[in-house]
Every structure is written in C-alpha cells, then in structure tokens.
Symmetry: C2
Subunit: 383 residues, 2 copies
C-alpha cells in the first residue's frame, strides 16, 4: 500500500459498527440479517461493516456472529481485519443468496418462526424465492429494513470517518487549485485534459482514485445535469460555462465537488451564475444542526422560482462510501431528514439551460454544533 | 460530436426495436410496460430502445405509444432521434415511478383490470407501492418480465450493433498493440501508466471512453479476480503475472478484453498460464451455433478440476450496451442459453492464486453460422 496513504487513514473500528447493528437487531427481535452487494444491487454497508470492497453477502445473527460470503475470497482475506468476522466462499452457495441464507439458518440452528431480514431492494420475484426456500421462517423485506437502518447509522459520521473525509477534502482542494492554475495557464484546453489530470494527480496524492466518473462538460455540453459521455475531447473552459464535477476516494471515502468555469459570460449566463451563487450562500446559511433538510431544499427552490427557474435535481446529499448517502437534501413530501452534528453533506445548487449552458457549485459541508464547516473549496471561477 | 466517431457509428433503427417489444406485448396481452433506469437499478433497455443515456422511465403502451420521462430533459432531446417517442420531464411525476405509471394509465385511458408490467428488479416494498397506487389494475412483477424479455432480444445483435462492435473491437486491438509495445519499451511501469494510456488513447481513437473502469493489477495484486482499487501507482508488468482488463465504448457499445503480462514466470505461474491458454482454446473450439452455454462452461470447469483448480467466476457473458449482457456462459443448473448466430460474447477463463497471482485471457467472440469469429486480439504476453 502507498506509504503516504497508510499514514492518512486511521484504523477503523469495525467491531463497534457491527455492535450497533446487533443492538438494533436485538431491539427489533430479528434472528438473522442478510446484506447483499452484487452487480445491479450494490450495498456499501458491507464495506462499512467489514472493510471488504464488495461482491459478497454479509450474514449477521442475533447471537452476534458475522459471516462474510465473498465472491473473491483472496480479496476478502486481504481486506477484512476484524478477526471475529468469518469468511466463506460465496461460490459454495452457488452464488444464490437464498441458498446461503438457508444454509446459515440451518448451521446456526435458527428456530422456526424467527425473523430473517433481507434487503429492501430485493426484487419481488427473488423475495418469493426466499419465501419458497425458508418456509419455516418469517422473511422480512421492508422499506425500513436493516440495510436502510444501517445506511441511516452511516449518515452521522464517526471520528475515523470525519478524519478521513477531512483529509480527502484537503487533497480535493489541492486538485481544485491545480485545476484552476492549469486552466488559467492554458494547459487544460479539453474536457479530457481536466479529467486525466484528476485521474493522475489524485493517485499521486495517495488517493485510491476518483470517487466517481469525473463529469467534465465544456460550454457546448454543460446544459446537461450529468454530461453524457462523462468527458470527451471537446473544448473545455472556452467562452461560456463549463462544469467540472469530481471527487477523490481515500480509504473507501469519497468527496464530491463541482466547479464552474465562466469565460466572458453573456447576460443570460451572468444571471444564472449569480442565482446559483446566491442559492449556495442561502443554503450554507441554513445548513445548521436541527434544520429539516426539506425546509433547506425548499428555500432554494423558492428562491429560484421567484425568477421562474427550476433546479432539476436535489440540493444535496450525504457523502461517505457511497456517492450518494443519507441525508437526502430534497424538497419532497416524504423527506424527514434533519441536519445533525457530524453529518457530512453536499450543497450543490445548479441551473441548466439548453441555450446558455449550465452552472453548478458544489461543496462538502460538515455539520457541527457551532454551524456548518465547509471542507472543500469549490467555486465559480471567472476567467 | 467527434468527426471520426460520427463516421464510425451507423444509424440505429429504434422504431424497429420498439416494434419488437410492442409485438411481444400484444402476444402477452399487456396494456402497459414500464422500464426504469435509476441509480441502484440501471436498465440499459431504455438506451437500446430510445438512444437516451439513462435516468429515465420508459412507458410503452399496447396501442404502440412510447413515453420517455427523463430526469434530464435537455439530454433526452439531444439523444432521442426517433420522432414518435414522446418526451416528458420525470420531475413532473415527483420522480416516483408509481406516480408516473398512474398518470399515464389515466391519460391513455387504460381499462381497469388490464395488465401493467413493472421491472423484475422492482423491490418488494416498491411493488407494494404500485399495487397501492393502481388498485384497479393487474400489476405484474415477474422474473421473466418485459425487461428480461427485452434483454433476451438484445442477446442476438442486429446489423448495426455488429457493425459498431466490430469497429469497437478494431479500436480495442489498436490499443492492445500499443499497450504491448509500451510495456516492452518500458514506457508502462505502473498500473496507472497502463490505465491512463487507455483513457487517453481510447478517446483519441474516437471512442466515448472506456467501457468500464479499467482493472490493472500488477504482480502483487493480480491474485484478485477484480482488483481493488481498480488501478493504483503500484508496479505493473514486473516479475510475475499482471492482469489488464479493459474495454472501449463506441456509440454506447462496449468491448471487454483481458491481457495477462507474464515476466519470468516461475513453475507455478507457468502452470497457471498453460492451463488458462488450454482452457481458452477448448472454449473457443466449442463456441459454435447450437452449443448450450452450460455445456461449454462445464467443459472448462472439468478441465480445471482435473488439475484440482477452480475458476471462481463465469466463463463468459454477452457484451453490448451493458458490461454484462445475455447470454450467460456459466455452469449452473438454471442456465438455458444456447449459442446462436449474431451473439457477441466473451470467453474469459482465469485462475487466481494468493501466492502466484492470477492469469486471465479474455476475448470478444461473434458467433456465426460458420463458427466463432474472434473480434479482439487479447493474449497472454510473455516478457
């Protein structure tokens, strides 16, 4: 492992995370919880609880046992440091989750009638397979499932996570400064120049890589919320609005920022920039402990609505192992999230216009008792 | 759009693809089919049927109407060329699939009691939301759903797809040659050197980018099936076995190849290489029209088993818009796929050892009436 990286990453206390889940299971009277990370149904809870990168089932029992059934057993042995987690080969269960759950249920002697919880995202036909395989047990597949409860636990970051994300944010800021410098010097002329610089420099700084596929959209493509393709050889940071949305990943944790480069903006573009900056400032002023996320997002929607503009996406989201974590900062009826200390979230107001292009400003914010702490230094850069 | 790329990509006949689905719906007596592409539940059927990159619902009705409810309406207008596809904003339905389906059901006057099909991967709790929202209709959520039927249609490629994938394969081969040359010259010394070269050169060749995150694993990390992180600054192509798994994407279609670089292999490593090469040759000799995929995969498993080795993954899979498409080339009881002309699939035998490292050889194969045609030129490169 990279020397610099090793120094950056504190030891994670996996057992204390597992204990939280077992405590919750005891309170709910659940005998067995299955978590699944597979192609098409990613669940980073497994990485959060064990350190294993993915493609695995995790089975947690009421008597506080943890079994990781990993597709790649070599990889699991390399990444799982907590000795009480048992490692098995998922191939031994034909890579069928219902088979693995049935086998472990039998192995642990879990009593008939007990509650076995499977993920909320289990497809309905797969749910039927479970019910067919485990006829003597009570299969739970609920919207507010164990997997969702664990994701909720992850919304408030622990000490180690805050340390890692602070460091990842500092490295992100080094990249932001380098990107601005190279754009100003004319060294970054295409979307590819920007994206490749991030790929190379992030690793030089000791990161695992980027947190997600960099979105670099020059003036001709910035009208899209998420440009497709993500980046091309098209011109970047020329006349008009260019968007650069990226993050770095350090010890499994990713940042998420968006810069807008504005060169000689016309009146319509200036108006968009000013509104996005105003929305960002308003959002930041409201990002305090105790603030309902819905109220925060609604304030930005109202601000835009006064100018007959509409933001086509959420105002923000938690960050962490997943690209998008809880809390959701969205103005929708069912959003019950309230900001709390030690949440780390993005604020990312943006506006997009087929003729003028788009502008988004996104930073990562740590909520503290004393107010928001802006960890990253993304900005709208006027050229 | 890139000049070179435009020339490479033939015009796709979206309407004829939609007609196939409508024909299937008529035969099944289904009034409305909903397809969903969203974070956590990607469905590239929408791209295949409309050209829209993703984050959308597609609603297809028995009276041959198609409505695309896109999160990013600007992007949809840019990418959807078929004029009969109606485009709406997904935000108008609060980005809730059950709301969109209910609204369209009312709009089209779909009769009570009619069958409305939602994707197989719909989580059980979301299925209950649909049933609650559309109480007068028969909500189908089946393992063998419309979405799965469409994926099956995609297993046999149409003329345009074969043209595009042939071109993507030719570009992949240019990259393979360049990679070998640069490794031999000592210009590629780290995993990052290899991965960055692919990122840059793929776009220079006119591709949208890579088909998936390149996996570059030097001798210290090649023991893993899919290295984590995908690529680092670690040494590559030094003494031992190094794996490079990559593909390029052209007009939405991706290739998928794996090279192994072997430098001064020891006896144990030689044995692994030889077995993988032997397995590849056997696989290729069997990859013919009419061959059951399970039988093909079982032959390779048996070959390895004779030497007490076990391949921890499938032998191959279809390629196309998704990284992994039908047919599945896997030795499992429920695999009913039979090879047919115009399928394009990977053959990728591999063995992985915690001490020796791993070796995988993967090429993309077009099945024709006259036998397999190997489109890509991946190989085990002895240094």
């Amino acid at each position: 492992m990279n020397q610099r990286r090793q120094k950056l990453i504190p030891q994670i206390k996996y057992l204390s995370r597992l204990e939280k889940v077992w405590d919750w299971m005891a309170a709910e009277g659940i005998a067995l919880v299955m978590l699944e990370d597979t192609e098409g149904r990613r669940d980073r809870n497994i990485r959060w609880l064990t350190g294993h990168p993915g493609d695995a089932l995790l089975l947690l029992s009421a008597d506080r046992k943890a079994l990781l059934a990993a597709w790649d057993i070599n990889l699991a042995k390399h990444y799982v440091s907590e000795p009480s987690i048992l490692i098995a080969s998922y191939n031994d269960f034909d890579r069928l989750p219902q088979k693995a759950v049935a086998a472990v249920t039998a192995l642990l002697g879990i009593q008939a009638g007990s509650k076995i919880e499977i993920p909320s995202v289990t497809p309905y036909p797969v749910f039927l397979d479970f019910v067919g395989e485990l006829t003597d047990h009570d299969i739970l597949c609920r919207q507010r499932s164990a997997a969702v409860e664990i994701k909720k636990m992850r919304a408030v970051k622990d000490e180690e996570e805050i340390q890692i994300l602070r460091k990842a944010a500092a490295l992100t800021n080094e990249l932001i400064d380098l990107l601005e410098k190279n754009v100003r010097k004319g060294k970054i002329k295409t979307e590819a120049d920007a994206a490749i610089l991030i790929e190379i420099e992030a690793r030089k700084l000791g990161c695992e890589g980027t947190a997600f596929e960099t979105l670099a959209a020059g003036p001709d493509r910035s009208y899209a919320i998420h440009a497709f393709p993500a980046w091309t050889n098209a011109s970047f940071a020329g006349k008009g609005l260019s968007i650069l949305d990226f993050g770095v990943r350090l010890g499994s944790y990713g940042t998420d920022v968006t810069l807008t480069f504005a060169r000689e903006p016309n009146t319509g573009q200036e108006k968009i920039i000013n509104m996005v900056e105003k929305a960002y400032k308003l959002g930041l002023s409201m990002a305090r402990n105790g603030m309902p996320a819905k109220k925060l997002a609604a304030a930005i929607d109202s601000l835009f609505a006064k100018s007959r503009k509409k933001m086509p996406h959420s105002l923000g989201h938690g960050i962490g192992i997943d690209e998008h974590e809880y809390p959701i900062i969205r103005n929708r009826g069912d959003n019950e999230w309230v900001l709390e200390p030690d949440m780390i979230l993005t604020l990312e107001p943006g506006l997009y216009d087929a003729a003028y292009g788009g502008c988004r400003l996104e930073n990562d914010i740590l909520i503290t008792k004393d107010g928001p702490e802006v960890l990253t230094d993304a900005r709208i850069i006027r050229l």
